[in-house]
């Protein structure tokens, strides 16, 4: 009987605690040691917007020439009494970083090439080098309780994707990369 009780306690520790960890309230997001606010032009200035959970950033296995990182981002919308918890996996194509493209361009110039500098920007505009996949999504209210509202994946995806060069959704994956590897993705040579 005691053994069953102990096993039950272990189950509680294994399943319930991680679930509680995912649920997040508005006040918890203000903990700057754990969450970094991502500045955005759509912020009202009242603390709403996207928060990167710094403890969630971890690199995962990736094919040759790529790097992949998982992270959790919370989107706080206090006026709507809503917080989205989004787990995202970013894929980085290493030979498409801006520093690598500029270096390749400069080498080509030294060897007699005549591609204009704007061709680097066009290359990044057609392929930023970063793709993202949302792997799970949860909704909470401002107090941190699970929200009953149905999650529309199309709307959720539009918050963070697509990652296009020159748009705001491009900054977050660069920051995520910096947290994982110490330098921004676009600084990789």
């Amino acid at each position: 009987m005691k053994r069953i009780y102990l096993r039950f306690l272990w189950l509680l520790v294994c399943f319930v605690l991680p679930l509680q960890g995912q649920a997040i309230s508005q006040s918890e997001l203000l903990d700057t040691a754990r969450f970094q606010h991502i500045d955005s032009t759509v912020d009202s200035g009242r603390g709403d917007g996207k928060y990167l959970d710094l403890t969630s950033v971890r690199s995962v296995e990736a094919p040759n020439g790529h790097r992949r990182i998982e992270a959790t981002v919370y989107v706080l919308m206090p006026a709507a009494d809503l917080i989205y918890g989004l787990q995202i996996q970013y894929d980085y194509q290493m030979d498409q970083s801006l520093n690598h493209l500029i270096d390749k361009h400069d080498t080509s110039l030294r060897n007699g090439g005549n591609d204009p500098y704007i061709s680097i920007w066009y290359a990044k505009q057609s392929n930023s080098g970063i793709t993202g996949t949302i792997t799970s999504a949860n909704a909470f209210n401002n107090g941190g309780q699970t929200h009953k509202q149905q999650i529309h994946m199309a709307n959720i995806k539009a918050i963070l994707l697509p990652v296009e060069f020159g748009n705001e959704k491009y900054k977050l994956p660069n920051l995520v990369y910096q947290k994982a590897y110490g330098i921004a993705y676009d600084d990789e040579l």
């Binding site: 204009p116 500098y117 704007i118 920007w121 900054k171 330098i183 600084d187």
Partner: protein, 190 residues
């Protein structure tokens, strides 16, 4: 004498009229019109789509004080669709500042020690592309050159052009190449 003066005035007026009727065939065949952008709708055989041509003969410098330049030119937007063809004539005035060209930004980023992050370079290129322009409707034509309407306003409001505004950027860059034989973003200000 008065008749001669009137005749001379008429001839001068005819040769200096700012707008000339244009046909789709002229845009497609005359070398003075450079195809800057095209987007086919769906069927490549019928050539339905939008085509943007710059009249390279129309490009004129208004201001030359490097690293600042101003150019003006005429361009045409031809819409070819199953229901007909429409040609829009527009006048573009672009103020260029090569202090903000990509070559200048990249060069200064490379010479700084320690070198700033590429993110700073991206932000600098987005906050000011060095291009300001004003865009005015001049006239609209049918495919055979029949004038549908003409209008000329002195609306000179300038707006910044981002490098993501591909059509306007390419027009501005093509005008710069016509005038100075170089891409705008390749000019380095030391």
């Amino acid at each position: 004498m008065i008749r001669r003066i009137l005749m001379l005035a008429f001839v001068l007026l005819v040769f200096t009229m700012p707008t000339e009727a244009i046909t789709l065939q002229e845009l497609q065949t005359s070398p003075q019109f450079k195809l800057v952008h095209h987007h086919e709708f769906s069927n490549p055989v019928t050539k339905e789509g939008i085509y943007v041509y710059l009249n390279t003969y129309s490009v004129e410098p208004l201001h030359y004080a490097p690293p600042q330049y101003t150019l003006r030119g005429i361009y045409y937007i031809a819409t070819v669709a199953s229901y007909g063809v429409g040609i829009q004539e527009k006048q573009l005035t672009v103020a260029y500042d090569t202090n903000y060209s990509l070559a200048t930004l990249i060069r200064s980023s490379r010479t700084m020690n320690p070198s700033p992050s590429m993110i700073a370079l991206i932000q600098a290129s987005e906050s000011n592309s060095g291009l300001y322009m004003s865009d005015i409707d001049v006239a609209r034509y049918e495919a055979d050159g029949t004038v549908k309407w003409t209008k000329y306003s002195e609306d000179t409001r300038k707006f910044p052009v981002n490098r993501n505004h591909r059509i306007l950027y390419d027009l501005a860059d093509t005008m710069f190449m016509v005038a100075y034989q170089q891409h705008f973003d390749d000019i380095v200000v030391q």
